[in-house]
Amino acid sequence: MNQQPICELAELAAAVPDGAVLVVAQDNCGVSMAATRELVRRGVRGLHLVCVPISGLQAEILIGAGAVATLETSAITLGEFGPAHRFIDALRKGRIRMLDATCPAIHAALQAGQKGLPFIPLRGLIESDLLASRPDWKVIDNPFSPGDPIAVLPAINPDIALFHAPLADRAGNVYIGRRRELLTMAHASKQTFVTVEAISEQNLFDDAKLAPGVVPAIYVSRIAVAKQGAWPVGLPEHYGADDAAISRYVHSAKTEEGFRRYLDEWLNVEEVTA
C-alpha cells in the first residue's frame, strides 16, 4: 500500500530484510534475476525461500551465495543444463533446512494464505516420505466422512513476494497476463516487490483488455525498472533464456571456487545484455 511504489533497484533489494520469508516463482512466470543480483550484492542472509512451486537458477544462486537458511520447494532444477550444484552441495553439507514439498501443496498453502485460512486440506501425500519429513504437515480425519484421512497444510504467508513482469504503471499496477500464481503470491504476501521491463504512462485498468491480467497496486509495495531483468532466465512472450550464460554458470558452479568466480563477475556486470 505504497503511494509511490516506483524506486531504484538497489532500494528495492535493501528493503528485503535478513531472515525474510521470500516467495519467488518458477522460470516461466517471470523471475527477477536483477533483484536477485542486488540481494546477493547486499549480502542478504537467513532467507526462508518459498518457490512456487519450483525454482531454478534464482534459488541455486541465492543458496550458493549463502543467503538461504530454509528452502521450501517442490524441486530445484536447471533442466537440461545440468545439476543445481550449489543446491546439492548445500544439502550435503547441511547448510540449509530443506522443506521438500509437492507442487500442489505449495499452491494450496499459498492459496490458504491468500484466503487468510489457517490451513487447507489437500489430497495425495499420505504415506509418502514427503509427508513424513514435514512435521509442519498433519493428517486429520475428513470431518464430513470419518475414516477418510486427509493431509492438512498450514497457510504460507510470505513477508515478500518477488517477481519480474513486463509492465507496470505509475500507480503501481503490474501486468502479469496468464501468470496467475503471481497474483496468488501477491495476495498471500505482506508486501510485493516487482521488477519490470517498462513503465506505462497509462493506468493499466484503463485498458479493459489488460485489466484481467493485472496485479492491483494495493498489493504492490515496490517496483523497479530492470530491462532484461529476468536474464539469463527468459521472460516468456518477451525473450528467451540465455542458454550460453546458463551453461557457463552450471559449468562454473561445479565447485565452490568456480561459483565464487562466476558470482564476482556477475555482480560486476554493469549493464545486463542478453
Binding site: 517442490s74 530443506m98 489430497r123 496467475r180
Partner: protein, 242 residues
Amino acid sequence: MNLDYSRAELLVAVIARLLEGCRHVTVGASSPIPGAAALLRRDLTQGAMRVTILGSNRYNAYTNGGVETFDMAAQGRIDAFFLGGGQIDGQGNINLVGTGRYPASDVRWPGSFGSAYLYYLVPKVILFREEHTRRVLVPKVDFISSPGVSAPGVYRPGGPYGLLTGLAWFSFDKQKQRFRLESVHPGHSVEEIRDQTGFEFDCPDEVPFTSAPEPAILTLIRGRIRNEIAETYPRFASTFAN
C-alpha cells in the same frame, strides 16, 4: 537386430497406444517422448483427445496459473499423466528426491514436483523411464516421493497403470501390488530384463515382443509430430529419429 525405427519412435508409438480412450492427457515440461506420443494420439483422434504440455504456450490453454493442472486432476479432467523417478521399486513407489539418508542425500535429484499428488489422482499414470538398470529399478526406493499403492480408505482414484522403459513394458496389478512383464522391446530378451531389474515382477511363460510401429504411424511421427513438438522440445525434435 537391425530395426527400421529408432527406440524413441518405438516408445512414442507404444505410449500412443496406451493413451487410447483418453479424453485429456497432460505431459510434464521435460518429457519429450510422452509429449510426442500424446500429440500422435491427438492426431489419430482428429483432435478429439486434448493434450496439455506443461511449459508450452501452444499446448497449454490454462488461465488460472500453475495450480490449474492440479485442480484439473482433482476434478477428474486429466485421464493420463507420466511420472518418472530416479528410483522405482516393485510396488510402484517412486523416488524423485535422492539416494541415501535424507535430507543429506548421496545423490540428490531435483525433487518430487507434482508426483505426490498426481500419482494419487490421475487414473492412468504411466511410469516412464528409458534407463532400465538395477540402479533405477530397485527393490525398495530410498525415499518415497509418492507411493505406488495406498492403504484401504485412502482416497486414491489414480495410480500406476504400468511402467515403460527402454527395454520393456510392464503393467501394474493394483490388487497384487506388483508389475507384470507384458512385452519386451524387439532386440531384447526376458533374461536381459531379469538381469537389469532390481525388483521382483510377474512374468508369464511366453512374453511377446512389443509391437513395432506401423508404417503409417512412423510416417506421422517423422512428419507432422516432429514438427509439432519442435516448438516445445526443440533440441529433442532435432535428434528424434536417430
